[in-house]
Subunit: 336 residues, 2 copies
DNA sequence: CTGTTAGCGCTTTCAA
DNA sequence: TTGAAAGCGCTAACAG
């Protein structure tokens, strides 16, 4: 208990100055082999571990990067984090994960914590309730590199790594039309957020382009929950003109919809086609197996990290704002 | 860009000593209201943020706790982390998450990183490949409080928060027998790990107690993957005496099993009953809806944090080793 | 090859 | 009510 060994302890032990110990520990070439060995042995024996806080303070450089996400228990974020951690640890970085729980206030607090900790870099996907990006701008004022992925603040000038949501939605609508559906509704989130807004725009534009007159966009302006799906379905079913297919922005909603359909005796895809944006594993296990638009998470994670790393290394390049856009993959299953 | 304001900058600005600034910032009662206001205003204006590294170094106390888990993309861990973060942030702690990816080596590295960072406390669930707990003992040597949850090292004397795996397995076997199944196989992980070992023991003992002669335990000694489930099922089906029910330790395996069953024309639960230990959402959406043994994650998270917090506060109480054990919930659905 | 000095940003004595 | 001095653990610049 209470083994807190410092370089001074080692120094005292073997009768040299603590700077010598510091040098030996870092393999400075100017230290004699004998003392170097002595120091190393002694450090080993005493169970020395460098104090990272002291190093951070001294060197003003921190090998920790932080990820800010709405909720780790969404498959897409969990997998993104997992992949990103792999990349980061290969480069000697430690990754800390922070959840906003879709709260603007919490997001601001988190960013403040990161500034105080002077983290080396930040990768973020903003909460559904975030509109203003002042907190992220402060982060960059402090010289902390920032990269957005998926969801971002329009008023923050940071690199973005994202999926082409407009194109994806267009593809979804075209696909559903080809499958014989013509009354397609879109269940989405707050369209003031880039991802939902662009999907909805892609949806609307494509309906128009294809000459489909039915259109109905329902927004959920908070964190998605299963019951929202059930609620929306009932609402749609109460109306005079029902949809014959749904383009859904989250599998959580689809889960609620599926359960409600079972209750109401709605058959999928005969009565209602479903196409969901989702990276959930097990989408193919549900009944019926769900068609999905999948994000290329590997690409997103790899690219986000690569861009962040380059920013961290050339600490000052504010100039070019290299962003990346990838495409969804459409996976056809039984639900459409 | 490059706004790094320190208390000295503020001090210079308003012509006082930097210690005065420090005091004012922390609301020291001995500072006059006027200077206090001046300092606060100035700090605000200059965008001052305290340097947490300096604080940590100075105060030797860190408001960060770390969670070590095998893989964040397992629902149970994701939800545990999510809940724990909530509790921690309420108490002013920041949570960092680390994944071992079921690698012993990575786990050791992570623990070393945490020692170097002098984190305030650690909550851990060990990797499948970890047998020795020397690294965790070093952590405690450094005076860093540790609490295990779910999976732990037997040779480390730290509080443990877990589920009664023996009892859960016993309950599973009894339940399956009551449902009319008699040839029950157990698909599990490395039984040298506490959770798998105890489940397997509970399984075997209960078979014996109930007078069931068929018993077959298959272990997967690495991270579970879907294909393992398919593989194990085929293996079981090749044998002369087939099981009529499976007690499965992870939904990932069950996913593989379900797909293989579909291919092979095995009907569930008619040909084969299934009961899985799982906290996956959407277990009720798959076909057929899966019966599960669920862990009380809320209790686990809340208790783990509470114990850790008490350890952090009374930094020295090595004496009483308060652990907790909870029970599984059995949720019956169509698969059994 | 090794020791001295100074300082990263902050707080805590001890004096005034 | 404020200032001066010292130090948390470490490294870098400059001597020797």
């Amino acid at each position: 208990m209470k083994t807190k060994v410092t370089i001074k302890d080692i120094a005292k032990k073997i009768q040299v100055h603590h700077t010598t110990v510091s040098r030996a520990l870092r393999g400075d070439s100017r230290i004699s082999e004998t003392t170097k060995q002595q120091v190393l042995d002694c450090a080993q024996k005493m169970g020395y571990e460098p104090n990272q806080n002291a190093l951070n303070l001294r060197n003003r450089t921190i090998n920790t990067i932080a990820i800010i996400i709405p909720n780790i228990s969404h498959e897409i974020f969990a997998r993104f984090v997992s992949l990103l951690t792999d990349h980061a640890s290969k480069e000697g970085f430690t990754v800390s994960i922070f959840q906003t729980k879709e709260s603007y206030e919490l997001e601001q607090e988190i960013v403040q914590t990161l500034i105080r900790n002077r983290v080396g870099g930040v990768i973020a996907s903003i909460s559904i309730n975030t509109k203003e990006g002042a907190h992220f701008n402060r982060l960059m004022d402090y010289g902390i590199p920032l990269v957005f992925f998926d969801r971002y603040c329009k008023d923050v000038n940071a690199p973005k790594v994202e999926v082409n949501n407009y194109k994806g939605a267009a593809r979804a609508v075209k696909y559903l039309k080809n499958k014989g559906f013509s009354r397609i509704a879109h269940l989405t989130g707050n369209t003031e957020i880039n991802v939902f807004g662009e999907r909805n725009k892609g949806y609307k534009d494509t309906l128009a382009a294809l000459g489909l007159s039915f259109h109905k966009s329902l927004q959920i302006k908070k964190e998605f929950e299963e019951q929202d799906g059930a609620f929306l379905l009932k609402q749609l079913w109460d109306e005079e003109e029902k949809p014959d297919a749904l383009f859904v922005d989250s599998f959580i909603l689809t889960a609620g919809i599926l359960k409600e359909c079972k209750q109401m005796g709605i058959h999928i895809p005969q009565d209602l086609g479903l196409l969901t944006i989702s990276n959930e594993r097990f989408c193919d296990l549900v009944e019926p197996a769900q068609s999905v638009l999948e994000q290329p998470i590997e690409d997103l994670a790899e690219t986000s990290f690569r861009i962040l790393l380059s920013r961290i290394k050339l600490e000052n390049s504010t100039t070019k704002n290299n962003s990346s856009v990838f495409d969804f993959s459409l996976i056809e299953r039984e639900s459409s």
